[in-house]
Amino acid sequence: MNLSSGSLERAIPRPSAPIRLSRVATIIVFLLPATLAYLGLVLFPIVQGIYYSFFRWNGLGPAENFIGLDNYVRAFSDRVFLSALGHNLLIVALSLLLQLPLALGLALLVRSMVRGRTLFRTIFFLPFVLSEVITGVIWSFIYRPQGGLITWLFQQLAPNAQPPALLADPDTVLYALFVVITWKYFGYHMILYIAGLQNIPAELEEAAQIDGAGRWQVLRYVTIPLLGTTIRLTIYLSVLGAIQLFDLVWVMTGGGPVNASDTMATYLYKFGFQRFQLGYGSAVAVIMFLICFVFSLVYQRYALRRDFE
């Protein structure tokens, strides 16, 4: 990650003679496959999506009904879309405030273990290995009001009360989903933190301790600052992941009840592929793309830049 570790002393020898044409040809030939793949699979579809977003189009036959920015106006005047955007932002906030600190805490815990380090690291990482769909199905069973695990636990505590149906209640559904998201992804961030912690020389923390710093002070003034690169990276991944959240939500709630757990991606799917309004769906996709793109640019410019210089 951290490429600024000292200097790349060995300067690359520069050709004294001008580059010959044959070398240019060689370079082009070697670059071609990757360039073509990138153009064909990334750039072209993006342009295509932007193009379709200006049409009223059902995805069948050519797009002919040009409507300018109407799809965008429609999206931003639709309460359901705006609430879906809000849900994405809520998941972003919860991820940064709860999920990443949890992952960091567990990473420190695992590091401090004398025994069982590998075992716990593996256990915490396991959920990340499961596919999103399987995860969604498993947790659907856990949340199920009829005989689900949560119902069972609730009945042990309050046998006569009606057990909660967390996924069926618009007020709790997002938080119930966030628990699953956290369960699934914290292990991934934890592994990144463990890797980052291994790069911190033990001498630095020991020196701080010898100078009389308490455990928290060491953490606050030595460990976390030195882990900065990794933390900035996990924030980046976490935000992008939360903005693009789709599969878990789709499997567990379908964006319901009554759009209470819709994300931009489930909204896109509903309109683009279920209602056959692909022009409008494309506009939503472009909006998502722009949010991610602008965030990436700004974040890379101001947060990640120093890590890569």
């Binding site: 699979l41 990334v42 579809p45 993006i46 342009v47 295509q48 999506g49 932007i50 379709y52 059902n58 995805g59 069948l60 036959g61 596919s131 769909v133 659907s140 949340y143 199920r144 009001p145 009829q146 009606q162 057990p163 149906a165 967390l166 996924l167 069926a168 209640d169 618009p170 559904v173 992008l240 693009q244 789709f246 599969d247 789709w250 499997v251 709630t253 379908g254 319901g256 009840p257 009554v258 759009n259 799917y269 509903k270 592929f273 279920q274 209602r275 056959f276 309004q277 692909l278 494309s282 996709a285 472009v286 998502m288 793309f289 991610c292 793109f293 990436s296």
Partner: protein, 474 residues
Amino acid sequence: MRIRHALRPLLLSVLLVLAACGQGTPAQTGQQNTQASPAAEPSPAAEPSPAAEGSPSALPSPVPTPTPGVATFGSGATKIVWWHISTVEDQRKRWEELANAYIQQHPDVTIEITVLENEAFKSKLATAMQSGNPPDIFQSWGGGVLKQYAEAGLVQDLTPALQQNGWGDSFVPGPLSLYTFDGKTYGVPWNAGMVGFWYNKELFQKAGIQQPPTTWSELLQTVQKLKDAGITPIALGEKDKWPGHFYWVYLAMRLGGKEAFDRAYTRQGSFADPPFVQAGERLKELIDLQPFQNGFLGASYGDHQVLMANAQAAMELMGHWAPSANRAVAQDVEAYNRSLGWFPFPTVEGGVGKLTDALGGGDGFAIGKNAPPAAIDFVRFLTSVENQTKLAEVGMAVPPAVKGAEAGIQDPIMKELAQRVAQATYYQLYYDQYLPPAVGQAVNDATQALFAGSMTPEQVAQAIEAAAAAELSR
């Protein structure tokens, strides 16, 4: 940069995979819904992957991977590509037997069968359609989706073929009409059922209910009696939306009859007309009794099935596929069969609709625009009375859509359903299929909001009307 949002084709393929594994969706649906669809025959756990090549007799032994695949029959010059969704092994074999029988008579034909799981099929078909390259023969439910394909010129007009040798007259008229738009027919049905109340006789007895209800107010009393007896009256998987939309649509049919819908559909009237608002008001009467299981708004149709199959709820409003779908998840199939009863959706006091007006739908086949004439001939063969009777005997074409095939039905309740479909005074396909997809989904969304209490009956009708006004007038 790891963002590839506007990647429509890639996104589609990702979603396709996702949809394929997203919802447990068995084959043979009586309804096409973009969420988990109901199934007439849920996929068994063990199902062989079909032999990629060669005769169907050389099927591999069952392995627990329900992977649909491709099987080729014959070696003639004329190739027919056929996509169907009968993933259940027994049903898949029946189609293969028929394909085999056909190529014996027509050695010049090759039939390539691709079996797809329902949700995967829908995504794959949409992609094929968008690339302008539909399969020759494919599963269709008729209605708004097929109409969209017809308008884009992607499917063949079968009207001339149906006029030859009385092919068109061999079908039950109601089901055939689901594939007919503006006087032209773009597909043929091979089964056609109807939605009604499936109920548990033993639980009804336990609650002291002698007779199934015949009017809406009797239904409400029935619900109250069941509640008083400590029984969950109704199972509902409202996460999937379409199970709940049946209630609203049936009420609209009972209140306004065929006329109200036709007026709204042809835009002489509107979906905000009194019958549609009243449908919501009546439905609210039921919702206010809280007759559904705890957490029904988050329950899938799969959860709904489990409740019905194991006597944890007394009734469900569901299509003809319900019994076989429920048997697949029943812990005691005997008990389920013993207690199974059916009654039609009750009439509503003051409504102009009749008890014999039926909401239903079924499976059929449409023909892609590039298909050879042999494809039509093959479908004609598949829907012959002899073949349909055989399919009815094994519970596949049940209730049948071809006249005379009902002779093959074994199950008395299915016999009754077949009769009712054949004699329906008004046969209406589920709104979410009949209407253009954008309007159908609006019906589903709005009715879910009514169940959740976040919309009033007026708002529901207006939301549906808003979608209809935007789509139907064009």
